[in-house]
């Protein structure tokens, strides 16, 4: 039976933990809002760029055979998996879900592809993959904190170079896709070679291209790749804050429950103590009679 003082001390410690989780939840909520706005702002460009890409690519491929090398798929022997996690923990299953999916990818595809290299964005993913004795080819640092499009561009160009030089035949991005504040979906997306859809609208219209279709395509494809990385980063950031918010809300609730049960225990113990003391006084008085 813990003493009254012990229980009181525990209540105090749980309370201060609860204050921290509550504060973290609020911070995460504020950051989530900002991250969501960033996603919304990035959407128009991404959507329009994809339409342009599809339009130019579908025509470029059809008549002059001038498709871009980044669009060309070849037999896949070597693949690269880009694992996007966060720099910080305390976000529920946010990072561990990704790492688990990465491991599954390795297990499932080890005999399909000759060689799988891994690069990471985010400290958490790097650390836990290393702890599991998996070789990380390259770790992109300093991406989180302040997301910038230039950084996305850097990553995208490096991956493209590896693809063009033949070091890898395909690149996949693995990240948490943002569905809503409480739902994040682990998503595996093919990054290279670029898959293009067909242009739905105005496909009948013949565009004039300046300087030329091939050159435009060579301009659009790298931009499209930048945007893919950029969106994955934005999604991952929003998901991280969403996951942390949910986790911290749960922690705050658990702390409240714990405080309630400890308070009950404390009051019971206090009452038992008073009763005991009363009995002692009464029986002492009885004895004096």
């Amino acid at each position: 039976m813990p003493s009254l003082r012990d229980i009181r001390r525990r209540i105090g410690s749980v309370k201060s933990t609860q204050q921290i989780t509550k504060a973290m939840k609020m911070v995460a909520a504020a950051k989530l809002r900002r991250a969501q706005e960033a996603i919304t702002r990035a959407r128009p460009y991404a959507v329009m760029l994809e339409q342009s890409l599809n339009r130019v690519a579908s025509r470029a491929g059809s008549d002059e055979g001038a498709a871009h090398p980044l669009l060309a798929s070849r037999p896949v022997k070597k693949v690269e998996l880009v694992v996007i996690t966060s720099d910080r923990g305390l976000a529920g299953g946010f990072n561990s879900n990704i790492v688990r999916r990465a491991q599954r990818f390795l297990v499932e595809n080890s005999d399909k592809y000759g060689e799988i290299s891994i690069s990471t964005i985010g400290r958490k993913g790097r650390d836990s993959l290393k702890a599991r004795k998996m070789a990380v080819r390259k770790d992109y640092t300093g991406v989180h904190g302040r997301l910038s499009f230039e950084k996305a561009h850097e990553i995208a160009s490096e991956l493209s170079e590896r693809f063009l030089s033949g070091e890898v035949d395909a690149v996949f991005l693995l990240f948490n896709e943002f569905k809503s504040a409480i739902a994040q979906v682990v998503t595996l997306k093919q990054f290279l070679p670029v898959e293009t859809g067909t242009a739905e609208t105005t496909a009948s219209v013949d565009f004039l291209y300046e300087p030329s279709r091939a050159e435009l395509l060579a301009d659009i494809v790298p931009r499209h790749l930048d945007v893919q990385v950029w969106r994955a980063l934005l999604d991952s950031a929003a998901s991280e804050h969403g996951a942390r918010m949910t986790a911290m809300e749960a922690a705050t609730k658990n702390a409240a429950e714990m405080i309630a049960s400890l308070s009950l225990q404390y009051n019971r113990a206090r009452q038992a103590y008073i009763t005991k003391e009363l009995m002692e006084i009464v029986s002492g008085a009885e004895a004096l009679k």
């Binding site: 460009y45 300046e210 300087p211």
Partner: protein
């Protein structure tokens, strides 16, 4: 009723959605203008000034390259960056201009950094031009 609808977007945000009678843009093969019923057209843009004419009034944007697309009287500008006059940091642009010009002078024309540096000069020039109006 204006002849064209114009959308300017960058990777980071939607800069503007406007009505326009005429749009003038810095194409890589030289500047060009667009009016009502322009043929479907797509062009790469170099850093420079984008001018939007609406009801006799002109609005300028400093573009950092990108490309433009016209179809069905809809103009879409996918720019790397786009700033209106008030948004331009003149000090920064001026500094970028002097620094890049210096560096450009020291480079040979065949240097691999030459195009990036030249583009930087053009971007700064575009900003200063728009800001100066």
């Amino acid at each position: 009723m204006a002849a064209l609808t114009l959308e300017i977007v960058t990777p980071e945000r939607r800069v503007a959605t406007l009505q326009a009678d005429e749009v003038r843009a810095p194409g890589v093969l030289g500047g060009f203008g667009i009016r009502k019923d322009h043929t479907p057209f797509m062009s790469q843009l170099q850093p420079g000034r984008l001018t939007v004419v609406e009801g006799g009034r002109e609005v300028h944007y400093a573009l950092g390259g990108g490309f433009l697309q016209v179809a069905d009287n809809k103009v879409i500008v996918l720019a790397d960056s786009a700033e209106e006059r008030e948004e331009i940091d003149v000090e920064r642009a001026r500094r970028a201009f002097t620094e890049s010009t210096e560096r450009l002078r020291s480079l040979a024309t065949g240097d691999e950094n030459y195009p990036t540096e030249a583009a930087r000069v053009r971007r700064a020039t575009a900003r200063l031009e728009v800001a100066g109006r």
